[in-house]
Amino acid sequence: MTPPEEVRAADGAASYLGMPGERPPRLGFFTDTSVCIGCKACEVACKEWNLVPSDAGPTGSNPTDLAGLRDMDLLGMSYDNTGALGSSTWRHVAFIETRTEESPAHPAGDVRWLMSSDVCKHCTHAACLDVCPTGALIRTEFDTVFVQPDVCNGCGYCVPACPYGVIDIRPGDGRAFKCTLCYDRTKDGLTPACAQACPTESIQFGPLDELRERADRRLAELQGNGVTEARLYGRDPDDGVGGDGAFFLLLDEPEVYGLPPDPVVTTRDLPQMWKRAALAAVGLTAAVVGSFLGGRSR
């Protein structure tokens, strides 16, 4: 019988926790899709840990929670029967069947099967957080974006605000849910469930600075090996969302994976608006509150 304390010490993930009062570094995910085997361990480990409901039946940990969103039919999207990120899917593995360029050796091109585990991007400039009127969405000490379930009242503003279509309202529950980057685990120095399970370390977790360095090295290595189509997605702090806390190495255009090619924080112009119209703030507030109240009564 091992006490839990020992387990945490053995985990070795606590190094970033630092001294009390000190800001820990920003944490994130680097998902290297070039080594993803599409096993979906991330989807399951995420659901197991976070007690996320299943489409298929009672889960045991959360017996009253049944997502019940759809029939249990094949989606026909290759081996993907999950479909998309949503309130009860915080990791989603996309399967893309394509062909490589035709070449003299392969006149019809070669079959290619791309797999990629998608997740909330934990944007630097997070529109969901910007628009949240209740303070349910916060930025944690790890610079991750977290929905506080004990605050969220299900207004749904965050849903259209997300440039990636990640966050969503859970039917039957009414509140918004998305990846928490396992805030409970990271608080205790543990690796998030998906990264912990990932067999091939396609999902890597750690301080974002380190992940970016690692990703740059991996990209250079792949390109050096002639994988010229390899690229990083969400790594650039100067992009439309200020860079993602969860970023990716892709082997094709982002659109191929169902990712927006040039995501922009939907509230980008909001700060300037505020500065310009500081005196008119009351009017704006009234408008927003009006719509908030309307939202709640829906």
Binding site: A41, G60, R139, D143, D150, V151, D184
Partner: protein, 189 residues
Amino acid sequence: MGVREFIELWPVVRQLRGSDPTARGDAARSAGSEHLRPRIAEADRVVRSICPYCAVGCGQRVFVKDEKVIQIEGDPDSPISLGKLCPKGAASQQYVSRPDRVTTVRYRRPGGTEWEELDLATAMEMIADRVLDTRRRTWQDTDENGQPLRRTMGIAHLGGATLDNEENYLIKKLYTALGAIQVENQARL
């Protein structure tokens, strides 16, 4: 809550006031968030196990609280799995704890159209009756040439590839002593 107080809480407002430009706002943190802990931190004990699915043999750590399994995850100490699990291994907590697991004996009598309930001890006695009766009826002492057989061809067994070595050992030992030889498992399938 008045409109003004409500606005005060709005993260955008706090951000714009300049003290918390990216809303790493500790002030917005709820009590739930403040006290959030991983549930395995509350575990009474952690038990070392091995995944029951394929034959790779990944290490598992089983977290127990109040005599219930609250989480199963990969064992980072294992040189075989280094803490990883596949989707099946990752689902094994649900496999053992799901509410629709059938955990009581069910009995179907000959020609019966529904399951019936049956006490475990009674079931064990009834199964022993049938093993002994079938063995008695189907016993073969010798073949047609008088060569010894000392067996029954009336009792067959299938299973073992997800069973423990200790279990398989008792299975083979008991059947062999009973003279039952049609003992097989998935290793052929």
